[in-house]
């Protein structure tokens, strides 16, 4: 990268495009920039190394060394923990580099797990994986802030999600909701918000963007106890929250690969609505119409609705002359359709299909207006999905179905072709 830049500078110099002074200014600028940057590669390998060593220690201890006495095994339980603490303490006291902080934090994180795992093993302490993970996360969480470590924060989010799934997706006799997951996630938020403030465009920050969105999407299902139909509503509201967060000033102008909120919010809503476009789902929902208002699922859906609405207002406040974007309001429409659906399955099915179609068309329009092929084809895909899905529950003759497919395929070609032509004309 650097040598390429130097080559370019010398080429520009030779051809008298820039003066000697400008050339030296440019190279001085890039040199100072490089000096300011900590060695990222070193940090990444440090964290990877610490993770592998930590996991290795856990596995070695999990072997369960029968030949050692209880007291020796107990000493071994504390050994990695104390080593991790000494290294981390040293890092803080001597104000070592970020690479040190991340690596020592990662190692200490796994050492905590190793130590409580070995103690449980020595004393045959029962308790399921959930309670074990819980203790682990609680003991490791402060390290995020004390070491200012992104790696520990990532580990805490991942393990908190693991904890929530372990507790909530256990369909055995323990019907528990992992409320503490929310506390863990909230506890990591100040760190994330600080990252957003100081380096919103860093790659590490976009890892956090994706991590939070995926974690919440996976874990939300654990908050459904028995009223699974309300689960659809919960997810629709969550995707509403995501999409609207993605439209707030911090994320709005970021590339899609960084803006997990917009991507998952939009894709999630479409997938969810495609499922809800089947009449069968609504019929089942009407049968289970015992949707009490004061259930846990309804409460969560309501909270998410309010959050989505507040975020929507916030994102609207910050953009004055932005055009209307249907996707931002989808959660409100779904909420209305849902309550119609409790009483009338057919009406809800029809409304869902119409909503999906309109969403597809509006995406096509946005794509065509802004000359973005990805958005255009996304809209076309939504429309296609609606049509394909309706083939499953509507009885039409095969040749008609065939003709429709041909028409849809032709539509793809045509729209893309027209837009390509338009774009070329504009470029001319």
């Amino acid at each position: 990268m650097k040598s390429k830049l130097l080559n370019d500078i010398s080429e520009l110099l030779e051809n008298n495009i820039i003066s000697q002074e400008v050339a030296s200014n440019i190279s001085a600028y890039y040199k100072s920039k490089e000096d300011n940057q900590p060695n990222r590669l070193f940090t990444v390998f440090g964290v990877l190394g610490a993770t592998l060593v930590g996991l290795g220690i856990i596995l070695i201890l999990a072997h369960n060394w029968d030949n050692f006495s209880r007291s020796i095994k107990t000493c071994f339980a504390f050994l990695p923990l104390v080593i991790g603490q000494i290294i981390s303490g040293f890092t803080i006291l001597k104000k070592k580099s970020q690479a040190w902080k991340e690596s020592s934090g990662t190692f200490l994180f796994f050492a905590i797990g190793a130590s409580i795992a070995l103690v449980s093993q020595i004393y045959n302490i029962p308790g399921d994986l959930g309670s074990f993970l819980f203790t682990w996360i609680v003991l490791a969480l402060p390290l995020i802030y004390l070491l200012k470590s992104k790696a520990v924060s990532i580990l805490v989010i991942v393990f908190a999600s693991y904890y929530a799934c372990e507790l909530g997706y256990d369909f055995g006799y323990k019907d528990s909701t992992p409320w503490m997951y929310l506390v863990f996630i909230l506890a990591t938020l100040p760190f994330y918000l600080k990252l957003l403030k100081t380096s919103p465009l860093a790659n590490s920050t976009s890892i956090f963007n994706w991590l939070y969105v995926l974690s919440l999407t996976i874990v939300l299902g654990t908050f459904i106890n028995s009223n699974w139909p309300v689960g659809f509503l919960m997810y629709a509201m969550l995707f509403g929250v995501f999409y609207n967060i993605g439209k707030t000033p911090i994320y709005k102008d970021q590339q899609l690969r960084r803006n997990s909120f917009t991507v998952i919010g939009s894709l999630g809503s479409v997938v969810l609505l495609t499922i809800l476009s089947f009449n069968i789902i609504w019929e089942d929902l009407v049968k289970r119409a015992s949707i009490a208002i004061n259930t846990q699922e309804m409460l969560i859906a309501t909270v998410l609705l309010i959050v989505a609405f507040v975020v929507l207002l916030y994102s609207k406040k910050n953009e004055k002359n932005e055009s209307f974007n249907l996707f931002q309001y989808v959660f409100l429409i779904v909420a209305i359709i849902f309550f119609i659906g409790v009483a009338n399955a057919i009406a809800a099915t029809v409304l869902t299909n119409i909503l999906l179609l309109v969403m597809g068309l509006s995406a096509i329009k946005i794509g065509a207006d802004t000359f973005r092929f990805s958005v255009l084809n996304y809209g076309l895909l939504i429309v296609t999905a609606v049509i394909v899905c309706r083939f499953f529950d509507i009885d039409i003759r095969f040749e008609v179905k065939g003709l429709l497919f041909v028409a849809v395929g032709f539509g793809f070609f045509l729209t893309n072709y027209i837009m390509l032509k338009k774009k070329k004309e504009l470029n001319r």
Binding site: N124, L129, F132, L146
Partner: protein, 190 residues
């Protein structure tokens, strides 16, 4: 915040990190040293845990009790009071929702289920994991099967458990008064 303040906070956290496993150890050591030991008849099977290694799960014969109280909720805390039967194995003396003021050892655990009007409540004894070296958990289960073939009543498997103030620590698993490790050694020698 100054480095020294962060460091002091870190030391506090580090002490907590050390305290939790230490407390786990001290509690169990206390029960092992001063608790009273009971034998619970059992049957082992071998699964594993991603972090803590291989263990054998113990299914205890003692998993229900008669009760006059018919409203037991799933997951509710239950106090199981113990006594010894004529052969020296633990059996249920009585169950209760609250701690009773009687001079008996008890185990605190959770209700699994109860059938509305059968006057029986089911529970799971909380010391159901016995960790073993990874290569030994499966053979241990096989040995158990070997010794309990044809449902003979001569061979007895039981867990030795120390109990104090409602807390229980599993000491070892026995087949006919010999630790399960003893049979594993015999197997190895053959």
């Amino acid at each position: 915040m100054k480095t020294i303040h962060i460091f002091i906070l870190f030391v506090v956290v580090a002490v907590l990190q050390l305290f939790v496993p230490a407390k786990m150890i001290l509690d169990r050591e206390d029960v092992l040293k001063t608790g009273i030991t009971y034998k619970f008849k059992t049957r082992p099977v071998d699964p594993n845990d991603p972090f803590r290694g291989k263990y054998i799960t113990l299914n205890y014969e003692m998993n229900s009790a008669k009760t006059n109280d018919s409203i037991w909720k799933r997951g509710e805390t239950i106090f199981v009071y113990l006594e010894n039967d004529s052969l020296g194995y633990a059996k249920v003396h009585s169950v209760s929702k609250e701690k009773k003021d009687i001079d008996r050892d008890y185990v605190e655990t959770k209700v699994r289920w109860n059938y509305g009007n059968s006057n029986t409540v089911n529970f799971e004894l909380p010391f159901d994991r016995f960790y073993m070296e990874e290569t030994k958990a499966k053979p241990a289960e096989d040995i158990y099967r070997k010794y309990n073939r044809r449902r003979d009543t001569l061979n007895q498997t039981y867990a030795l458990v120390a109990i104090k103030n409602g807390k229980a620590v599993l000491k070892d698993v026995y087949i006919n008064d010999k630790p399960i490790a003893y049979y594993l050694e015999i197997e190895d020698e053959n």
